[in-house]
Symmetry: C2
């Protein structure tokens, strides 16, 4: 299948030609074939006329728990501990494969409609999520979030369910769909595990050349308790066990120290900023300007919908670009361009994926944003409009891996009515009924 | 004209019956006739079937400068002083009536599509704005934002253009459309005027029974310079001249003192919280939880689109509900319900308008929000979904003063293509060409 986008405004995120007006972008199979201002030679299976549309890289959500879409708004307004122990954990205990599939599909529908083409997801029953992602057509780095609450002395990889789950997930799914699915090694967090699991996970990643995904210093309590327990921050104590030898994605990083930032820059650990979730749960405000200064690669995530309560990455982009201006009282902190980088090129770099840029040879993960909407008129600056005025609802087309999977409200890989019925008639009664 | 909404979920903001499922809301002329769970007697000109829709009060934007929609994203990324002096002021100097009309209409279109039914606007060429609001069909409190940079000794009301403008605006527009348009007395800010104008404006409001609209303590510099100049905060020094004798709406209040909060509670001065603009311009974070504790009435505003860059009040509602949780690290700070109150009942109270609640006898300012959208499924809690998961684009209908002015993307009082052409072919070349 070949597709030609013509007459688009292309925001490429490619420094060589950042913004092209009246541009042509050709897609051949799963890759971008050409990007320029003259019509490429040849015939195309489909020509998309993009007058008034901005074409840009699809957005990458670097931290989420997609089946938690089932818990949107559930137990909202309670404090964190009460919310987790009285609402979220009891609900999660009732989840089965079918409910996870329904929740994942619902979350994917929202993500696709708001311009996301790749996610990093950590949850349970991960194989089920992998199948939903494959069917939906976007890309994903998936992980199980290893937990170990036992006595460290008793740890045995053979007896550790989460180790078995990680191995099984890797064998079944790593590299599936020509790299559409990648499996990350993962530790849920420093506070929900101990040294033997860290060592095992570091070795597992090293041996199988996997990425690494961990919750890091989300709350002040988590960060301080690690200092008490180990005399080291969560990031630093995991480093001692080799967890970051292949880099990784560290979700939240609200409370990381200056030394942590240096370590992240040195070891290529990406800080995944989740500003909505961090505000909503009362976790705090990550020191993103300082991280950027320290040379840390920063990406964005929505976290689970249960603590957001949306999966629209445009919200995170806007909040990332304005929150730090306000909190540090510096209107130059985190520019519009930097916020867009976090959702595209920085995220692709974090995952080692050949996407996040509109350039020949890159995977054709592309979205169109409809700049004919009243809320995007006038357009003095494409990036300012994308960051501060656009919302997910302005996305008019989503192409993932060269395939148009969403266009003007219509889903081509998902049956939203069927998903809704699975959610409302099966999953919700099972969990909350 | 009579309209019956049936089978809606009604979030009324009326403590007597806050949430009604499968409800009927009848509208007769410009007012709500009945609200309940049984079908009211009689025939209706139109019956709107609202299955899966949430009906709620239209949103009230208590601080904006609607023609500044023309400057969306213009000069973004510069510091405040550079932005104002090199971008905004030169652009504003070129505005004429026709450009103001075009910018106002464009802004109103965005507001109407995202669920706003009433605004508080301060700008120049205000009569032109009044006409656009009348035509669009929503309600507005309009003001000129009085400035006086001359020597206080030389002040003469007869020679003060801004005083003349306020009088003229009042004579021509106050009460127009049976109260659709109200004119507020106004002072742009403490730092852009002096005592004789404050005295004149206080007397003008008192004599003509007008509301009062002023920018208060938006930046730290403004607040501290007032303390230096007068030994008093902006709010307190204006109080000394009787500016708040009839209450009023004080925009921003980022830096108000504890004593200011007590004064606001006592004098019925509403704090208009503009969280997006305050973050984006690097002004800071207003102490909203403290204001609520002190008994201050808090409402919401978008400020001008030039510093937002959106007019979607759902963004302010979500940010108001999560920003203070994050900054104060208290997940219970500013509840979803409180954020909804700010955009509805609190705002109506601030303006003395008989709206903001779905109850018999109230003005029929009503919106429908489409809870069939994937981003609003499931619905464990209507308020949590409205605040944290809904966006302006989920508004499927806007009824202002009993008249349906917008439905599913279609505007009935505005010609968006004509507005766009006025903006792009006339206003933008005039100002920026």
């Amino acid at each position: 299948m070949s597709v030609l986008f013509q007459h688009v405004t292309a925001l490429t995120m490619d420094p060589a030609q950042p913004l092209l007006k009246d541009a042509y972008v050709a897609v051949e199979g799963t890759a971008i074939a050409s990007v320029g201002t003259t019509r490429p030679q040849g015939e195309f299976d489909r020509v998309v006329d993009g007058k008034g549309q901005v074409l840009m890289p699809g957005l990458i959500n670097c931290h989420t728990h997609v089946p938690m879409t089932l818990m949107r708004g559930y137990g909202g307004g309670h404090d964190l501990q009460h919310w987790l122990s009285d609402y979220i954990f009891p609900a999660e205990a009732k989840l089965d494969q079918r409910a996870v599939a329904a929740g994942a599909a619902l979350g994917l529908a929202e993500m696709i409609a708001t311009g996301t083409t790749c996610i990093v997801d950590m949850y349970m029953k991960t194989g089920t999520i992998a199948q939903q992602v494959m069917d939906a057509g976007i890309s994903a780095n998936l992980s199980c979030g290893g937990l170990y609450f036992g006595d460290p002395k008793d740890f045995s990889p053979d007896q550790c369910t989460d180790c078995r789950n990680q191995e099984e997930l890797m064998q079944q799914w790593h590299g599936a769909g020509e790299g559409q699915i990648l499996v990350d090694a993962s530790i849920h967090g420093e506070y929900t595990s101990s040294a033997p699991l860290w060592q095992w996970t570091a070795d597992f990643a090293q041996k199988n050349k996997l990425g690494m995904h961990v919750h890091i210093s989300e709350t002040k309590l988590e960060h301080e308790q690690s200092l008490q327990r180990h005399g080291k921050t969560p990031l630093a104590i995991l480093d001692q066990y080799g967890v970051w030898e292949r880099g990784g994605t560290a979700a939240h990083c609200v409370w990381v120290s200056d030394e942590d930032m240096d370590l992240m820059a040195r070891k290529h650990v990406t800080a995944v900023h989740n500003p909505v979730s961090n505000l909503k749960l009362g976790s705090g405000v990550a020191r993103v300007p300082k991280m950027l200064q320290a040379g840390v690669n920063v990406a964005l995530g929505t976290d689970g919908v249960s603590s957001n309560n949306s999966a629209d990455l445009f919200e995170e982009i806007k909040l990332a670009a304005m929150l730090h201006k306000g909190v540090s009282r510096d209107p130059m902190a985190v520019t519009a361009h930097q916020a867009l980088e976090m959702a595209t090129v920085n995220a692709a770099r974090a995952l080692g994926r050949n996407t996040g840029v509109v350039a020949p040879g890159k995977v054709a993960d592309l979205i169109l944003v409809d700049f004919n909407r009243p809320n995007l008129i006038p357009c003095h600056d494409v990036e300012e409009n994308l960051v501060f005025a656009a919302r997910g609802g302005d996305v008019s087309m989503n192409m993932a891996r060269g395939k148009i999977i969403y266009e003007k409200g219509e889903f081509f890989t998902l049956d939203v009515e069927k998903i809704r019925s699975e959610v409302e008639d099966y999953a919700l009664p099972l969990i909350f009924g």
